[in-house]
Structures are given as structure tokens and as C-alpha cells.
């Protein structure tokens, strides 16, 4: 009987403790700005463009980080718990880490279907949707299409629209403000895109190789021809046999540029470049991936200039 009482008291203490902690919850400080949490830095950069001084946007992944393999750190759960708006790249890019965070965040509105949830891929026409039998025999393939659309400036306009729609959903009083900033972003994209196209126009049709299948939207937009990847299949580490095949392909097709993101190993790209007299250029996956590329326009400026410069260098080889 005594033990039962002890156990009972323990149960009540447990429940009571939890309730006391809940009651003692500190009131959230009055937020002057909407707190936008994004999975990747490109989305945060565009959220700043659209949200202006009414938002504080923060990305969970860094620009230097492989967005497929982000550690689902508990500190991210706290950020999502506080988030007024949650924006993700979608197309299963973050499937390996974001669901754990979303589940733990205790912020139901950021879950799929919630009013604070924005899937930036809504309205994007995905490339490379796998057809036929889909399995891991194809590597770490994305069933809904290639999720690396952030380097296509036209896709950036779709991202801006989705972010603006999300902001308007939770802050309709400032609808006109967000719409005006979205339109302004679209206008600036159109203007800058003309320049970027012009800069890369002399190299239209140039054959390139990338480390991962993450440049398809960029090459399609700017008329480059991606003939292969260092990875034999998405996510699979390069094998000697595949690299030998790739080197032969590059020599046969006169591909003189290899693009890798900073988080991929550089030793093998160097070997391939040496064998093929190609130039290796390291380019960011997202804004902030290299210094001076914190906003979307400087990010695209950097990429276009680096690609143009590298292709110019390789002319005549």
C-alpha cells in the first residue's frame, strides 16, 4: 500500500511537473519582424528580398553545406518552433533531415498543409522526373524530379511568388508591401538575366562536366551542355572505372570545364582535369557558399562570371 502511494505520488509529480513547466512558459517576446526559417540559403536570400524589413530570414543549412546531408541538430528544432513561416526547397531534397525537425518542432502550422508551410517548388516544372521502375539502383534519385532549381533565375521568381504568398497568408495587412517587393524582385531578375545570358552567350553549347547532377536547370537556362557527372549515379562516390569512362568522354567531346560544389572532394576532380586539360571551378550551391555571395543577385553574378571566365580560359585548348 505504501509503495502504491509512492508510485502514485511519483505519477502525479511527473504530470504536475510537466504542467508546471507548461504553465511557466515564458511569453514570446513581441516580434517586430516575422521570423522566416528556410532549409537552404537561397530561399532565405529570396525571402529577404520579398519580405524586406518586415522579416528576419534564417537558413538551417549553410551555403557551404551539402543540402542533402544536413545534420538534424536539435537547435534547429528550436528555430522551427519559433518560426512564423517555414520554407523548404521541396522535391525531396531535404527528405533525409527535415522531417525529423518538423516532427520535433511542436509548431503544427509549419507541417505540410499548415498555413506557415511553404514548399518553394510549387509551380516549378521539375526536370528529370524519373520514369519507369524507380529504385535505389539509380542511386540517390529524387522521385519528384531534380531539386537543384535554385540556379535558374526564372525559378527564383517562382520561389519569390511562393514566399510572398506565404507571407501574405500570415500577414495579410502587408499584402501590398509583399506584392510590390515580389514584383520588384521579378523585374530585377528579368533585367539581370538579360545580362547573364549575354555574358554566357559566346559559350552556348559548351560541354561541361559536373560533380553531382545539380546543374541541369542552370545549363538548360544558359545553353550549356552537361555531358556527364563525376558521380556515376546521384549520391554515389566516383569509381575509377566511371572516371576513366568520363575522361574518355570528355576528351572525345572536348569538354574542358568541371564544376564542383565546395563540399565535394577536390582530389578526384583535379585528377580528371589534369587528364583532360580541363579547368575545375568551385561554385556554391547556395548564396553564402563563397564569400561575397550573400544575396541572390551576387550569388548568380558570381556563378555566371566564374563560368564565363573558366570557359574563356579553356578556349583553344
Amino acid at each position: 500500500m505504501k509503495k502504491m502511494a509512492v508510485a502514485g505520488r511519483r505519477a502525479f509529480a511527473l504530470v504536475g511537473g510537466v504542467l508546471l513547466l507548461a504553465a511557466a512558459e515564458l511569453p514570446a517576446p513581441a516580434a517586430a519582424k516575422l521570423y522566416v526559417v528556410t532549409t537552404t540559403p537561397d530561399l532565405a536570400a529570396i525571402a529577404r528580398e520579398v519580405g524586406g524589413d518586415k522579416v528576419e530570414a534564417e537558413s538551417l543549412a549553410l551555403g557551404t553545406q551539402d543540402p542533402h546531408f544536413v545534420d538534424a541538430k536539435p537547435s534547429f528544432i528550436v528555430k522551427l518552433n519559433r518560426a512564423d513561416l517555414y520554407v523548404k526547397r521541396g522535391l525531396d531534397l531535404e527528405v533525409g533531415w527535415a522531417p525529423v525537425l518538423e516532427k520535433g518542432a511542436r509548431n503544427p502550422d509549419i507541417l505540410y498543409g499548415g498555413r506557415r508551410h511553404v514548399d518553394a517548388s510549387d509551380g516549378i516544372a521539375p526536370l528529370e522526373i524519373p520514369t519507369g521502375v524507380l529504385s535505389r539502383a539509380l542511386g540517390d534519385v529524387h522521385p519528384f524530379g531534380n531539386p537543384h532549381y535554385q540556379r535558374d533565375p526564372i525559378a527564383a521568381k517562382t520561389i519569390a511568388k511562393n514566399v510572398a504568398d506565404g507571407l501574405i497568408r500570415i500577414d495579410s495587412d502587408n499584402r501590398a508591401y509583399y506584392e510590390q517587393r515580389r514584383d520588384d524582385f521579378d523585374r530585377r531578375i528579368d533585367e539581370r538575366l538579360a545580362g547573364w545570358l549575354q555574358e554566357l552567350a559566346p559559350y552556348r553549347g559548351a560541354k561541361i562536366v559536373t560533380y553531382h547532377k545539380s546543374w541541369e536547370y542552370f545549363t538548360a537556362r544558359f545553353g550549356l551542355d552537361s555531358i556527364g557527372e563525376m558521380e556515376p549515379k546521384p549520391g554515389v562516390a566516383p569509381s575509377p572505372a566511371h572516371l576513366a569512362e568520363l575522361i574518355n568522354l570528355m576528351i572525345a567531346q572536348h569538354a574542358k570545364l568541371v564544376i564542383r560544389e565546395p563540399f565535394y572532394p577536390d582530389n578526384l576532380t583535379r585528377v580528371v582535369a589534369e587528364k583532360t586539360e580541363a579547368t575545375v571551378v568551385t561554385l556554391p550551391e547556395s548564396p553564402g557558399g563563397v564569400p561575397g555571395t550573400d544575396d541572390y543577385f551576387s550569388f548568380m553574378d558570381y556563378i555566371v562570371k566564374q563560368v564565363a571566365h573558366a570557359l574563356q580560359e579553356t578556349k583553344g585548348r
Binding site: M4, V6, A7, A11, L14, V15, V18, L21, A22, L26, L62, T64, Q65, D66, D71, A72, K73, P74, I77, R82, G90, L91, V95, V100, K103, G104, R106, P108, L111, Y112, G113, D119, S121, D122, G123, A125, P126, L127, I129, G132, R136, A137, D140, P143, G145, P153, I154, A155, L193, A194, A201, Y217, A220, R221, G223, G235, V236, A237, F263, P265
Partner: protein, 462 residues
């Protein structure tokens, strides 16, 4: 895959041809009465022109179909004639990718042509309404000089796990894992509902689940860094770790520093049920007619600190109590500490993890003579990721055996893991164990393991 792709494309082209073949007929039938008219209008001339173009397109596509039927799947060097033909066909086909670039200075690129946005903006699940179904297989070989050990010197399909995971409704999700251990009846490793939309930063679980004691105990066997669980964990909770049927509530504690602080409380059926097979703890089932005394109570507090972008620390404290009306009173206290280093700026595949856990156990068997035992134990391991696919690490174990006076075991366990992708890995390890509960105290163990997962298995907790 490539041949299937070609076959799919051929079928697609056939369907296109079938429609196109009809178009001139339909157009001609529609145009016949008008053509009979004395005065041919401009509109008719345009329509006739279109019909002619369509006929040409049909002819070209027929040619392409013949080409495709005769082509090998891999890209091959093409002749100039073939290239021209391909260019013509490509021009006749609707664009498949955004590549129609406006030429010239100041041109603005055309919007990408719309493909069916399958999955874009929807639930992003590999199945529709059905739960995500996954399978994990764990194949091991234990080579050892100690034949007392379970599954010594034999290949073993140690465990097959089938997982079902899906939202139940807008408020909760379900996770269920059925295990088939070699030589044992199928069992439910976990099957629980998580209520995601509770107020006040609360979350609740109902069902059977791994109890929140420490860090390692939360992991399924296939997600462990080593092939077996640490000696101290096995001594306290058994080879499978500690799970229970009950309810749990966790609370994400708000604080002015935005620090991650999670407090969890769980109540489950007694240790007599949960620790079946555990070594060192008497297996006494609760007497019929349960009371609150028979339950096991688990509390866990956890926090996490980002030292900077590349370094972080996670600390936790756990408590377990079970004082059944008959049988052994058990209290276990635990501490855990994890340090991670992962440089994000360059070579993100490098990583170092150091994890340690300590267990402090108090037991009272209520037996005549000595009945109270206070024991402790723990493990520590460091693991370094050499590159995209390789890990190397070493674990060191030491533990007193709960419920005994002075019996100990310790071990050291270096290992190497190779994982081509995150869906499968090979692991080889050598483990030296000195245990007071084995007749032959010293044992050398060589572990070989291959583990694979198929299907959409949700990510594990950090």
C-alpha cells in the same frame, strides 16, 4: 533501365504518331466541304498548309521511330546525317527542358515549358495514402573463441525489420516496426502514435516504443555505430535495449536563450516485461493484478549546444524507477554526452563524433542476506569519418554487472564501416571482452556485418 526508358519513349512516340496520323484525316474531312467551294479563302489555304506540315511531321516522326528502334541505348557517335535528322526531330517534338533561349543582347529567357508537376507541392511521399513501407535486413557473422556466446561462429540473419510510417490524421502520425529475429517469433519493436499538435510545446506518444533513457537506447539496431550494443547497456537493459508499452509526454522548454531543452516523462509496463532476456536482472514478472507500483517510470532531460557552426555538444540525464509489489526494486540513473565536429566549409564529409554514457544502478532484491546492489558502468567511443563512404572508430566498455557483487566486464572494440550510400553498409570489427560471467573470461570476437534498407525509411533522430 536505359532499355526501359527507350521502350517508354517508343511507346510514347507511337501514341504521338497515332494521334498525328488522325489529324490530317480529320482536318481533310473538315476541309472537304469548304474546298468544294468556288472561292478558296485565305483561311482554307492556311489550313491546307498546316495539314501539309502535319503530314511532313508524321513522315519525320515515322523515320525517327524507325531510328529509335534500331538504336542502342547508350549514346553513340552519330553521323552528320543522323545529327541533322535528330535536330529536325527535336524541332518537331515539344521541348522537354527549358532551353529555348532568346538569342541576342538583352533577350529574356523563355519560361521553362511546363511538365506535369508530379509531386510538386503535394505530400512528397513515395506512396499515395498507403504508409511508407520499408525493410531493413541485418546480416552478421560472429567469429569467436568463446562458444558460450549466442550465435557464435555462424552466419546469422540477425534481424529483419519491416517499418510502416504515415500520418494518421492532421494531428498525429504512426510509426510501427515489426521485427523478425532469427530463431524467434516475430515481435513488435515499436508501434506508436505521436500527437504532434498539442499545445504548450507538448508532444505525446502512445503505444510501444523505445524508452527515452540515454542516447544509444533510442536507436534501432541498424542505426548503431557498432554491430552490438555497449556492454553496460546490455547489462542493464538487455541485448535489444529498453522499450516499453505505455505513454510518454515530452516538453520543449522555452527559455530566454533559445536553447534546446527537452524534458520527457514516460510510464510503461514493468521491467519484468520490458527486460525479458536482459542479463543480470532477475526476470520476475509482475504478479497478477497490477498496481501503479508495477509500472516503470522514465524521465529524461536533454540539451544541445552549438559551440560554432562546426562543433556542438549534446548532454542528457536519465532516470528510471521500477518498484513492483513483488520482485526487485530497480533504479537506474544515466548521463550521456556527445561531441560532434563536422567542418562545413570544406570537405563536408569529414566528421568526428565522441559519445559517452554512464549508468548507475541501484537494486534491492528483498532477498535474505545481501539484497542491495549498487553498480555502475558505461562506454565511450570515438568515430571518425574518413570520407564520403568510410568510418573508423573504437569503443571502450566497462561495467559492473547489476544485481551482482563485484562482477565486472570490460572490452575494447575497434571497427571500420564502409557505406556506398546511406541505404546499406558493410562493417568489420574486432572486439575483445573480459567478463566475469563467462566461464572462459577472455573472449575474442570478430564481427562482420552487412545491413541494408529498402523503401522510404524515415530519418532517425539526431
Amino acid at each position: 533501365m536505359a532499355s526501359r526508358s527507350i521502350a517508354t519513349r517508343l511507346a510514347f512516340e507511337k501514341r504521338r504518331l497515332w494521334h498525328l496520323r488522325l489529324l490530317p484525316v480529320v482536318a481533310l474531312v473538315a476541309l472537304a466541304p469548304i474546298a468544294a467551294a468556288a472561292n478558296e479563302t485565305q483561311e482554307i489555304r492556311e489550313l491546307r498548309k498546316e495539314v501539309g506540315e502535319l503530314r511532313d511531321a508524321v513522315r519525320e516522326l515515322k523515320g525517327q521511330l524507325r531510328q529509335l528502334k534500331g538504336q542502342p541505348p547508350a549514346p553513340v557517335a552519330t553521323t552528320e546525317q543522323e545529327k541533322e535528322l535528330e535536330a529536325e526531330i527535336r524541332a518537331a517534338m515539344p521541348p522537354l527542358a527549358p532551353g529555348t533561349l532568346a538569342p541576342g543582347v538583352g533577350a529574356v529567357a523563355a519560361a521553362p515549358p511546363v511538365q506535369p508537376a508530379v509531386g510538386a507541392g503535394i505530400g512528397k511521399s513515395s506512396s499515395i495514402l498507403n504508409p511508407d513501407i520499408s525493410f531493413n535486413g541485418d546480416f552478421t557473422f560472429l567469429g569467436t573463441d568463446n562458444r558460450q556466446l549466442n550465435k557464435a561462429n555462424r552466419f546469422s540473419f540477425r534481424e529483419a525489420e519491416v517499418g510502416f510510417q504515415a500520418p494518421i490524421d492532421p494531428y498525429a502520425r504512426a510509426d510501427a516496426f515489426i521485427t523478425f529475429d532469427e530463431g524467434e517469433s516475430p515481435g513488435v519493436e515499436e508501434a506508436y502514435a505521436t500527437f504532434l499538435t498539442l499545445p504548450y510545446n507538448l508532444q505525446a506518444r502512445i503505444g510501444k516504443f523505445r524508452l527515452s533513457f540515454g542516447k544509444n537506447n533510442l536507436l534501432h539496431r541498424h542505426a548503431l555505430s557498432q554491430t552490438d550494443r555497449p556492454l553496460a547497456e546490455v547489462a542493464n537493459f538487455g541485448e535489444e535495449g529498453l522499450s516499453g508499452t505505455g505513454i510518454g509526454v515530452s516538453y520543449l522548454v522555452p527559455n530566454p536563450w533559445d536553447q534546446y531543452v527537452l524534458v520527457t516523462g514516460e510510464v510503461a509496463n514493468g521491467l519484468g516485461e520490458e527486460l525479458e532476456g536482459a542479463q543480470g536482472i532477475p526476470l520476475e514478472r509482475p504478479a497478477p493484478g497490477r498496481s501503479l507500483d508495477d509500472f516503470v517510470y522514465v524521465g529524461h532531460a536533454q540539451s544541445f549546444f552549438d559551440l560554432n557552426a562546426n562543433n556542438n555538444i549534446e548532454v542528457g540525464g536519465s532516470f528510471l524507477a521500477n518498484e513492483p509489489r513483488s520482485g526487485t526494486d530497480t533504479r537506474v540513473y544515466g548521463v550521456d554526452l556527445t561531441y560532434r565536429w563536422r567542418p562545413l566549409a570544406q570537405q563536408g564529409y569529414r566528421q568526428f563524433l565522441w559519445r559517452s554514457e554512464g549508468y548507475f544502478t541501484h537494486q534491492d532484491t528483498h532477498a535474505a542476506g545481501r539484497s542491495v546492489f549498487d553498480t555502475s558502468g558505461g562506454y565511450t567511443y570515438g568515430e571518425y569519418r574518413l570520407g564520403q563512404t568510410q568510418w573508423v572508430g573504437t569503443r571502450v566498455d566497462w561495467t559492473e554487472i547489476p544485481g551482482t557483487s563485484g562482477k565486472k566486464e570490460w572490452g575494447v572494440y575497434p571497427y571500420f564501416t564502409f557505406s556506398p550510400l546511406e541505404f546499406g553498409y558493410f562493417r568489420v570489427g574486432y572486439e575483445y571482452v573480459r567478463s566475469d560471467r563467462l566461464n572462459d573470461k577472455d573472449s575474442h570476437r570478430v564481427w562482420l556485418q552487412y545491413n541494408f534498407s529498402i523503401g522510404p525509411h524515415a530519418a532517425h533522430a539526431f
